[in-house]
């Protein structure tokens, strides 16, 4: 059974209250992401230049886990190449589904605080909503992303 403090780590609560890069980016590609079950809804903005994430931001509403994850994602992928950002998502996805004991964690840096999510399977969708949306934006998609 998961402990609440494993899920709601201080860093996560802090990011959910004061999300970083919480703004609209003009002349960026934008994709909306929905979690229809709980009503979470974010828009992720990404500016790519030569396959590098020049700038990234988000807006929307959702639970503490989804908002903090979006906020910390924007910090983590800024300046990374498209391939690096996608690889980071795959490592992050493994972290929130399988927990922190599987190596590969070095790349994650601060994102490792989300390891507690793996103890709360219904919250995996919250933690990955912004990431799925970011991936769609990187792939040049425009239609909204749904976690269902």
């Amino acid at each position: 059974m998961g402990d609440l403090r494993d899920l709601y780590q201080e860093v996560i609560l802090e990011h959910s209250k004061a999300p970083r890069n919480y703004r609209e980016l003009s002349d960026a590609s934008r994709v909306e992401g929905f979690n229809p079950l709980c009503g979470d809804h974010f828009t992720v903005f990404i500016k790519l230049e030569n396959d590098t994430v020049q700038d990234v931001a988000f807006q929307g509403s959702g639970c503490a886990i989804s908002k903090a994850s979006a906020s910390m994602m924007t910090q983590a992928i800024k300046g990374k190449s498209k391939a690096e950002a996608e690889k980071l998502f795959s490592t992050f996805h493994k972290l929130v589904t399988e927990g922190g004991a599987n190596g590969d964690q070095a790349d994650l840096g601060k994102l490792a605080v989300f390891s507690g999510v793996s103890e709360f399977p219904v919250r995996v969708k919250c933690a990955t909503l912004a990431w799925h949306t970011m991936k769609a934006a990187l792939e040049g998609k425009q239609e909204p992303v749904s976690t269902e």
Partner: protein
């Protein structure tokens, strides 16, 4: 971290005045209520999603499959006669439960959702045409919106929506204005699942019938909580689900007035709904079988029959009184917590306490309460337009049933304080 037991409002030792119901006995009737979840005593406050089942219902279903199982209406053998008679008895129990005039007016369906779809696809397709209107309210569950949207799209008709006020009550004046010469059907909930509002059905039926418009009532959230008398209500159709009223999942009831049901085309074709079939012509069976194609959920019907007999033995008026007191207690207790706002504050309410907390998303409330063994629902409750009315994405919803206690409300209040503590 402080545990809920250390908080000042902790429930365990508080003694409350006795309920009109023998709650200790009732709670023993529901085996699941004795179990622990996540190392805590289960506090089940998600009854509007589905209710728990008493032992008599579980036993009736087991007995059917162990001792009585056979297909109905067609066998000459002992078990088929027995199963048919049990199925008939279940329908009679339901007839008595809602005081329908005739047993033929009760059609077994999969649930309230299918009941509404049935009316939309039969009565609706026959009577709604281009530029006609179907009137619903802004407090509907999706199951009383989408079937009408499908119908209106198909027929080129319009869906009109009567607004609600800030308390979550239907605005009757606006509702009346929206009834026009093209209105063909009025569909409203008896009790709102997201807000708990009890609608003034008497007034609604009066307004509708003055213009000869039939009223279909989504009764899914009313049937477990109050006495239903369809003849006194005067509505033309009434839909409800077994699983929300302590019966099994997968079965529900559509009540309809005989003259309407007789004139409606069938819903689905197949066995059991026919009197005779040739390749040239099929003669449909009489009511209610005309609307029950295929082998029905016999065990489900028997389980539902057991549930309504159980409720009848306790008494729906007593259940309503107990829940009314519980809701009033919970309303005072939860609304007194700073930073908590109730969504849905109608004068007439039943069993539902929806709330939001400042700066804390309902999903996080649900997860933290779950760690305390408290089961509530969070989200839009299949009522996204209601959330839009209140300008919120979601709520946390505690919903009560006959077996809930004031101690459980205390546990909820303590849990809410814990949520605030985690987020402080």
């Amino acid at each position: 971290m402080t545990t809920a037991a250390n908080l000042p409002t902790a429930a365990v030792n508080v003694r409350h005045a006795k309920s009109i119901l023998d709650l200790q006995k009732i709670r023993r009737d529901f085996p699941i209520l004795a179990r622990d979840v996540r190392g805590k005593k289960l506090v089940y406050l998600d009854n509007a999603a589905t209710s728990q089942k008493p032992q008599v219902v579980i036993d009736a279903i087991v007995r059917y499959y162990e001792q009585e199982n056979a297909n109905i209406h067609r066998g000459v053998h002992f078990l088929s006669e027995l199963a048919t008679s049990k199925h008939d008895q279940a329908r009679q129990s339901v007839q008595n439960f809602i005081n329908a005039a005739h047993v033929r007016e009760l059609i077994f369906v999969r649930g309230a959702t299918e009941a509404i779809n049935l009316v939309a696809q039969t009565y609706g397709r026959k009577h709604v045409g281009p530029d006609d209107e179907v009137l619903i309210s802004a407090m509907e569950h999706h199951s009383n919106i989408v079937p009408w949207q499908i119908l209106c799209d198909e027929k080129g008709a319009r869906l009109r929506v009567a607004p609600i006020n800030e308390a979550g009550e239907l605005r009757l004046d606006e509702f009346e204005k929206l009834i026009g010469p093209r209105t063909r059907i009025i569909a409203v909930p008896h009790v709102s699942n997201a807000l708990g509002t009890v609608n003034p059905l008497g007034k609604i039926v009066e307004l509708a019938h003055a213009r000869k418009i039939p009223v279909i009532v989504d009764g899914a959230q009313a049937a477990p909580h109050m006495r239903i008398d369809v003849q006194a209500l005067g509505c033309d159709f009434y839909a409800f689900s077994s699983h929300k009223m302590f019966g099994p999942m997968g079965i529900g009831v559509l009540y309809g007035k005989t003259e309407l049901l007789e004139a409606m085309p069938p819903y689905q074709g197949g066995g059991d709904m026919i009197s005779s079939v040739t390749f040239e012509k099929t003669i449909y069976n009489k009511l209610p079988f005309k609307f029950e194609a295929g082998t029905p959920d016999v065990a489900g019907a028997i389980g539902l029959g057991a549930a309504v007999e159980y409720l009848t033995a306790i008494g729906m008026d007593k259940i309503a009184e107990h829940e009314h007191e519980l809701l009033a207690y919970a309303t005072d207790k939860v609304s007194a917590i700073p930073g908590v706002r109730l969504i849905g504050t109608a004068k007439e309410k039943a069993s539902v306490l929806s709330f939001v907390m400042e700066g804390i998303h309902p999903h996080d409330i649900g997860t933290i309460l779950d760690q305390e063994g408290i089961a509530i629902r969070t989200g839009h409750h299949c009522a996204q337009p209601v959330m839009q009315c209140f300008g919120i994405p979601a709520t946390a919803r505690a919903s009560f049933a006959l077996y809930n206690t004031k101690e459980e409300v205390d546990a909820l209040a303590a849990g809410i304080l814990k949520v605030q503590e985690v987020f402080s």
